[in-house]
């Protein structure tokens, strides 16, 4: 394990277990997560990737009103690996590799359901940074893009301890600015030329509350 990561983990665990954190209600959340990301906008690729990231959140609840409200900030990275795509219109094999990084912020509402089980609802916006690479025998190219994006999410969360929760979140992210298309999607002959990029992700979360 990387030394830096180990030190951060030890620090967070100590902080989460400190007497100060047990003295009052928790208002801060550090939530690393990992899971699968599905590429919805580029239909020919039909790829799924691996996503990992972390959420930092601060919030609380109003007296006499069960739901909790958090302002969150999320940073994430999704690798879609390298897809070998068969282009049937010209019987050719090509290779596509995409990577998406996101910096998002928004509001999370946590609604208590039963026992320690809670429902998450999220809405946020931010920037997506994508790197795309295309390769086929004879030529290749790559490019980076930046998109303004909106994310909508929901999930279930189980508060195991005062300082620890586990969750499962499903999230849909779509580009919130007009897009005419995408170069790789056009080269692959997609009907809409990749003009409606979108990503769905299903991730498992580990919430550290303090």
């Amino acid at each position: 394990m990387n030394k830096t990561v180990k030190m951060i983990l030890v620090g967070v665990l100590l902080l989460a277990g400190s007497p100060a954190s047990r003295a009052g209600g928790t208002h801060f959340l550090v939530e690393p997560y990992t899971g699968m990301a599905f590429n919805l906008g580029y239909s020919s690729e039909n790829a799924f990737g691996l996503e990992s990231g972390a959420v930092l959140a601060v919030g609380g609840k109003f007296k006499g009103f069960p739901p909790r409200f958090y302002a969150y900030f999320r940073a994430s990275q999704a690798f879609f690996g390298e897809d070998d795509v068969y282009v049937s219109s010209r019987a050719a094999n090509v290779s596509v590799c995409r990577e998406v990084r996101a910096l998002m912020g928004g509001v999370r509402v946590v609604i208590p359901l039963w026992w320690e089980l809670r429902l998450y609802l999220e809405v946020g916006g931010g920037q997506l940074f994508t790197d795309s690479h295309y390769r086929e025998p004879g030529y290749s190219f790559g490019y980076s893009e930046k998109f303004g994006a909106v994310e909508l999410g929901t999930g279930l969360n189980l508060r195991l301890f005062r300082w620890l929760s586990l969750g499962l979140v499903i999230d849909y992210t779509f580009v919130a600015e007009p897009e005419h298309g995408d170069l790789i999607a056009t080269v692959l002959g997609e009907a809409d030329r990749g003009s409606q990029p979108g990503w769905l992700r299903t991730v498992a979360t580990l919430g550290l509350h303090f």
Partner: protein, 324 residues
């Protein structure tokens, strides 16, 4: 469909990169089309464009991407793909044309100088490459350009190009003549959508992205005007209020001497249950329903209380053991 996921990049570096300001800029990111006369000669090449016989007119899908251009944000990579005619099986032709728009004359008559563009043509039958060559003769003309600081620019260009393989691996040549490239939306459509006057063939409209100002320059570089109000009749130069030098300008003046009107001209522009363990324990209508204390007693409570420290200790021990 096979897929391989590769996770070789250092994650920490990626996170640090995320913190850096975005440097991605682009002028055009749009689909389009190419109409062209296609000529194939599998035996020999030609010495000049004039001696090339008539070919077959074709239409092709195209895409214009500044992000993919080797010239950076002021350039554009045009990809066009089409099925080529012939009796030797279905073949697919791919044109890659990269243009440095900052160096492109915009009069539609003067070709883009050599060195400010590069082109290659690939012909394939399935995965087999049957021809691959670079442009050895010909020119590219930029007819109309709507350059954007974002990615919503547009381009219209002509081309006449002869491709051959310098390495001699693929004999013969391919020619693309009377070619017309146009992005969708086209420059004229964008002008119309933004309420700008129609193109008079000698004026280029450049969206600087600075407060919505629009920089106008003629193709000779001898005059320009900026949208907005400009008390300074000298034009854009020396005006304050933005990188572009156009902010706050309006009207007219004729400064900006030496500007070519291309993209380079403005390229720089560029509570309640406070003592509870969470809302799950407060799922009643009021905070008085908090009941966590009753659930966390005895050994389980003690274990839960010291679990973070135990985990931290475990991490340290595992780390030490691995090191030794």
């Amino acid at each position: 469909m096979n897929r391989r996921n590769s996770h070789t990049r250092p994650g920490l570096l990626a996170w640090l990169l995320l913190l850096l300001p975005a440097t991605v800029r682009a002028g055009i990111d749009a689909p389009g089309w190419l109409s062209v006369e296609y000529v194939r000669n599998e035996l020999e090449s030609y010495e000049s464009l004039e001696e090339i016989p008539a070919g077959t007119m074709l239409a092709a899908d195209a895409y214009f991407s500044s992000n993919a251009s080797s010239y950076g944000p002021d350039g554009v990579l045009v990809w066009a793909g089409f099925t080529t005619p012939g009796e030797q099986g279905r073949r697919y032709g791919i044109l890659l044309l990269d243009i440095d728009l900052s160096r492109a004359p915009l009069d539609g008559q003067t070709p883009v100088p050599a060195g400010a563009w590069q082109a290659s043509f690939l012909e394939k039958r399935g995965n087999e490459i049957v021809f691959s060559g670079r442009a050895v003769l010909g020119d590219v003309w930029v007819l109309d350009l709507f350059f954007s600081h974002g990615d919503d620019g547009a381009l219209e260009a002509d081309l006449a190009l002869l491709f051959a393989d310098d390495g001699g691996r693929f004999p013969g040549c391919r020619a693309l003549l009377q070619g017309r490239l146009e992005s969708d939306p086209s420059p004229s459509l964008l002008r119309q959508q933004r309420g700008l006057p129609p193109d008079s063939s000698d004026t280029v409209y450049v969206d600087t992205g600075c407060s919505g100002d629009v920089y106008l320059a003629d193709d000779t570089g001898q005059g320009c005007a900026c949208g907005g109000e400009d008390p300074d009749a000298g034009g854009c130069e020396g005006d304050t209020g933005g990188d572009s030098g156009c902010e706050g300008d309006t009207g007219g003046g004729s400064g900006c001497e030496g500007d070519t009107g291309g993209s380079a001209a403005c390229a720089a522009d560029s509570g309640g249950c406070g003592n509870t363990s969470g809302s799950g324990a407060c799922s009643g209508s009021s905070s008085s329903n908090c009941s966590t204390a009753g659930r966390r007693r005895g050994p389980w409570r003690r274990f839960s209380r010291y679990l973070p420290q135990l985990l931290a200790l475990l991490v340290l021990l595992v780390g030490r053991r691995r090191r030794s």
